[in-house]
């Protein structure tokens, strides 16, 4: 699993890993049941602290994205996340949206321009999903 970390993004490292695993799952690079590297292997690959890698995996597990099988390691969980986690997911999204709103403000991008940009990117994403090989 290749992940790129940006220490200049203002986003906590563990959070970046969580987002990239989720993006990989959404984009099809990681498929249901695929194994993830061990905490130690991930830490070495990304040149980060093992605590950070462990935190990322704990978060992914809490969000129902991955599951640990005793003695075997971590795997991408099959199927969509359980409805019980919906509130957690909504909360996470709200955090991400807030961060985008603040960024837009700093860059002097108007609310209208922001909503237009969002519509554009969403359309692009949906097109990519439709074109994804099964």
């Amino acid at each position: 699993m290749i992940a790129l970390l940006n220490f200049r993004s203002g986003v906590p490292v563990y959070r970046q890993i969580v987002e990239q695993v989720k993006a990989a799952a959404a984009g099809g690079t990681l498929r249901d049941g695929d194994p993830l590297p061990s905490v130690r292997a991930l830490a070495e690959e990304l040149r980060i602290n093992r605590n950070t890698a462990a935190k990322a995996y704990a978060e992914l597990e809490a969000e129902g994205v991955i599951e640990t099988r005793a003695g075997k390691g971590c795997f991408l969980k099959a199927g969509s996340p359980s409805p019980l986690r919906r509130s957690v997911r909504a909360e996470r999204l709200a955090e991400a949206v807030d961060s985008v709103i603040v960024q837009a403000h700093h860059l002097q991008i108007s609310p209208e321009e922001l909503t237009e940009l969002l519509a554009q990117r969403l359309q692009q994403f949906q097109q990519q999903q439709a074109n994804r090989p099964e």
Partner: protein
Amino acid sequence: MPMKTPPVIDIQNLVYRYDRREAVDGLSLRVEPGQCHGLLGRNGAGKTTTIKCLLNLLRPQSGSVSVFGLSPGRREAAIKERLAYVPDSVAFYPWMTVRDALDYQASFRRHWNRQIETELLGRFQLDPRLATTALSKGQRTQVALIGAVCPEPELLVLDEPTSGLDPLVRRDFIQTVIGAYQDAAPGERTVLVSTHLISEFEGLIDRFTIVDHGKAILTANADDARSRYRRLRAEFGNDAPDASAVTGARTLRREGRWLELMVNGEAESVVAWLQGEKAVRVESEALALEDIFMAAVGTKGGLP
């Protein structure tokens, strides 16, 4: 209610002055168990002197030092049994092979994990029969690190682990060793790494203390610091205004129509001020530890 675990290292207002050289001038530092704590500072900032006080190589002139809740002055042996120290220049007896050097280290320790030793020697492709004099600087550091983690101490103190290494040499091995060390007992293994090469250790550090002129300038959690400190670049139609009176901002550069500021947390009010001064463009960027460090030790007035 669970008892809070005491810090592994607790230094309060440490003072140690030499006649002319590096001094520690009222430094406080607390390292919690299970963390990888970075002691960041320029050469001569007081990092090595601080470490020497932890090891009882120097006696504090004032202030207090405690390791595992014990005083290095009174309980030196008890402390040293539970930690391992790798100095910035590693030396071996010249007639020893790698095998000899490791066995020699092991002879001083109650416990030695042979499995880790074999694993790491294999990973680094180090032939134990090699003479230590035949090793490159990087290989010597590898042997020293292996010798430090095999006794499985509670605390690992590394002083400038990458110093003297050729910039092209892959430094991942430090990562590998620390990873093996902490992964075996997460929460119980603590690392204090002292360095002036911040970007090398950016990802590895949980928490850090920036030291300059013998004082601790900032102690923070790495992720928190990276999300709080931001750099703002503003372009103006005419000469950039003077921002020295703006609260919450430090001027990094002011050249012609450009102004570069650093803010901590509340970027809103500073951005509002910039817009009030008719900035034509404002760019905002979060900062890496390296940037924060450079600003802390380089900027007049320090960090915002």
